[in-house]
Symmetry: D2
Subunit: 336 residues, 4 copies
């Protein structure tokens, strides 16, 4: 039985607690939050649970094996480092930290102590994303041409992070997980429409050494909610729409084949278009966070690396960091 402490009981923390409570082999023993009314709510829901407004109580508790961190990103490093030093395994919300330097130091600390360090990139644990990864790794799509994602809505303005750290982080983690090649530089352009507030609309471009391009369109001020990713390959293409109730992934047997040059008419022979069936594979409907919770517990028990380990968290933070730098330089690409 793994005993957990959860730091932060605001928007996402309650989902963490609920899922770990229902995960066989784990139990949430303690919750901390700065706001007492939240702790009261937690106690009403889970009588007998320990609560504290000071996360250090929780981190120091020898009866706790692992700490889940659901606090604002600026606090992740300090809390995670203290917990690691107390010998706790860590599951930290995305983005992992506010800098790649912080992320590296957490990785080192966890390595040194042989503790599990996992980042809560929840989408990785959806069956849609797992399916896309399988399709790509089994070469169903052929060579990957592009990853093009739109993630917009009339969203809650965040005050401590901009729209890239809030929304693009999801696309970056999905792209990182399903596409084996890694980007070499990133460019970002954005705008803030509210004085003294973070950038609320942004466009990221990811450059790769090969023939791939990544593009992410994020926007807190859109009239409609869109969660749609196009992935182009030389053999097949995917439309991934997270808002579809059941057919989240559609695979199109479409593309072009490049033929020989026709000396008579160079304009028509060269490229042939191919259009075949469309196919929407059945996806498992399990809640991603439930699978993620189980995975964390298993990694602790087996001492194995999580699918979203510190290294993957660091890669995402590095991309966010570089995007932020590019943003301030009007879109100049920044190396990764």
């Amino acid at each position: 039985m793994i005993n957990l402490g959860v730091v932060g009981y605001g928007y996402w923390g309650p989902n963490m607690v609920r899922n770990f409570m229902e995960t066989p082999g784990s139990k949430v023993k303690a919750i901390s939050d700065l706001i007492p009314s939240r702790l009261e709510k937690a106690q009403n829901r889970y009588p007998g649970i320990n609560v504290s407004t000071n996360y250090e109580d929780l981190v120091a508790d020898p009866g706790i094996d692992a700490v889940v961190i659901s606090t604002p990103v600026s606090t992740h490093f300090e809390i995670a480092m203290k917990a690691l030093k107390e010998g706790k395994h860590i599951l930290v919300e995305k983005p992992m930290t506010i800098s790649s330097d912080q992320a590296k130091r957490l990785i080192d600390e966890a390595d040194k102590r042989k503790l599990v360090l996992m980042v809560d990139h929840t989408f990785i644990f959806t069956s849609a994303v797992q399916k896309m990864r399988n399709l790509i790794s089994s070469n169903e799509l052929g060579d990957i041409y592009y990853y093009d994602s739109t993630r917009v809505n009339l969203g809650l303005f965040q005050h401590d992070v901009n729209v890239i750290w809030d929304l693009a982080v999801h696309d970056l983690s999905i792209m990182d997980f399903i596409i084996p090649e890694k980007p070499i530089s990133v460019s970002a352009i954005g705008l803030s429409h509210v004085t003294n507030q973070p950038v609320n609309i942004a466009y990221l471009t990811l450059f790769f050494s090969g023939n791939i391009i990544g593009q992410i369109n994020v926007n807190w001020l859109a009239p409609v909610k869109i969660r749609r990713t196009l992935i182009g390959g030389s053999q097949k293409m995917i439309v991934y729409d997270d808002l579809e109730p059941s057919e989240k992934i559609k695979i199109y047997d479409k593309g072009i084949t490049v033929g020989d040059n026709n000396p008579d008419n160079i304009y028509q022979i060269l490229i042939n278009y191919r259009t075949g069936d469309m196919w929407a594979p059945k996806l498992d409907g399990a809640e991603a966070l439930k699978i993620e919770a189980l995975h964390f517990i298993e990694c602790i028990e087996k001492g194995s690396q999580p699918e979203t380990n510190g290294e993957s968290g660091l890669r995402i933070v590095r991309m966010l960091e570089a995007a932020t730098e590019s943003l301030s330089r009007n879109g100049k690409p920044v190396n990764l």
Copy 2:
């Protein structure tokens, strides 16, 4: 009665001929095309029409008042200039020319000779685009925040122009027509997935002096067809979907209002979200090209400037030119 000659009878030329044949006050007298089988087809359809494989015959015909040019863009300048010098009014397909220098010279020639010079930016003559312009000019949307367009499909690879000159040209002309402010620079990033072929996927960003950002996503290798533009304003927002059979424009009474800072909780008071009704105005279903043809004839008869005159054609060519330059410099913004 305005007598017209149409140069080019490939993909778009037949639509031009049909519409001008049906426009009161105009008649197509002659057609030229390099390919004889096309001329034969035209003659079968329009018995008695003059045809020639040499456009100069048509341009020199004193019985012709105006010339419609539906040929590859690289030939526009030469044909248009010859026709202007013969005193013909011009309607030239988009993009107007391959360089802004060429566009300027055509404008000067037309001005000098007091001839109508019109560019076939067909979308401008749809009731959807006219409606959006009216909504913006009457300040229904408030301050414009962004223009974000996606125009992708498994499209015909063009061999003489890249995807920007082929697809983004539509968005640039619509944006230019409906948004009063003009962009000051443009950035473009793209990729060619087929050796020795033009760029087939590209992302354009338009920078403005004020608080506006423009973004255009074009792709010849997409699994699905998307024609969707989001326009954000401080008061209202538009979703324009050209593939919708009837409700092409939806106006959302949504946005944010920025309130005072709450000293107690700066995170929640500052920004209020506003969500109201959605409204899809009835749009006139007339074929855009029919309205455009009528407009061209009226401009000739009245000696007035078309809505898509040489100056607007030049602005679009200048943006395409700058985008191409930016493309070759890996997205570095190029001034307009």
Copy 3:
């Protein structure tokens, strides 16, 4: 403070308990269910709540003011009658009873004892349905022409009721609530595709004395989920799609106007088509069951009649009863 007892803690009961727990002025004191594991689940969630496998304990408890009945429909009458006789107010799940005779007896008993008798027709408390009622009562739609609803999916086969009692009951209650005219007869046709199981696909037609027709299409064996109602009026028409995340109601300014007979061409003058704007009013997003719970408590406190009182529950049961009779007579209309 109204103290409630909830009988039945299966699929819907937990939602009832949660909502009444969160409704100011009410508190759930006791839960009963035949299955002990469900009671255990309830106690884990709500420590200190009274539980029993015998609903009579709950009904007899003098500390309980009102009873919520979330059990199979065949048990509604007995439980409700006992509770009324103990002086409890009643909120009973839909359909109210298995016969109109039972429904009448409950109404009489509640009347005699001046107790609130309310039926849980949850959709009535959605802002979509309330909005449609307002639109119709304010004559926005003109004369009502038809109510045409499709409610199909791969649904759970019920064993004690057929698809009409399971799904059409929703449409009947909505239609009853928003259309002032009442049907005079009903016809139903259906089929069971599984031996010894209830009818799983059915079509109901509602006849009115005036110019209205009602049609309800229900199906447990459909490949996709559809929840869509068309309401036609002489002035405007509504499309109500309950699966739309935000724009559940769309109002179309469409219709026909009947003109004079043209002696020259009687085929074209008589009827003119009118197509105007479409409009999707903003709807309040509150959970219907929350509003319903509040309404029940208010009716108890004020001694007033609920919007979904026993009489409305009876009308629905009478329609279900008549539909069942028609079903067995191969669609012969049965008077109401």
Copy 4:
């Protein structure tokens, strides 16, 4: 070379002429219509074509091999019979005739003279309908459970036929073509909302001897256009949406399996739900009328029976006739 005469050049006739003009092996020699301006239009389009306001001229012309009839349904019989008696092959628009008696007499006459008699049920020649027939005949769907179609829009009121003869005729012909079993009776309910005008909203039910039910919902007064058919089978189910630009057919690997009775809990074991992949086969995009025209010419040349021969036309007319009778008897089923 088959020479054709086309009787009727109103809405559909021009499509017939265009397609036969482009079909190898056929040529339209003559057109007749009561309205001279239509004939003028035809002559402008097809210089040299023979025209007449009297169809008898065309029917009597010995240079004409086959007659296409695109006139109001009430005139079909007379024209077709005269043409058959003159030894012409016939392609007659749907519905074939206004009565099954008329249809039988045409079949007899054509049989006696060994002439081709074909009915223009155009949908049969779409690749979507052909694909569905193949899926059903190859038993992909298992046992057919239902055919449920909605065909509604703000449609042109017809003055000589009601909405069943105008719209349901399409569904009846598709159902007849793809489902091997034939209905044994039909019920129809409908309403006219305009005084002295035909029924503009109707619901048809088709009864079969086996476990199948057919339902057709047609409406000239709907706010939106819907063309959607659900076909349920014991193994798979189809959604056929004719308005989808490319994926008109979606095949769902969904259904139920009926297991053994569980003595402990009869409610949960009996029926298992199965949900698998969805698949949209690529469909040929050829114009249905082009394929139909080719088929007619081939049947004449080979002396073979068309897929939509007189017998199939008769079956549809018989169903329409019975539906009309049922309509007048308030939905009482009428045997076929």
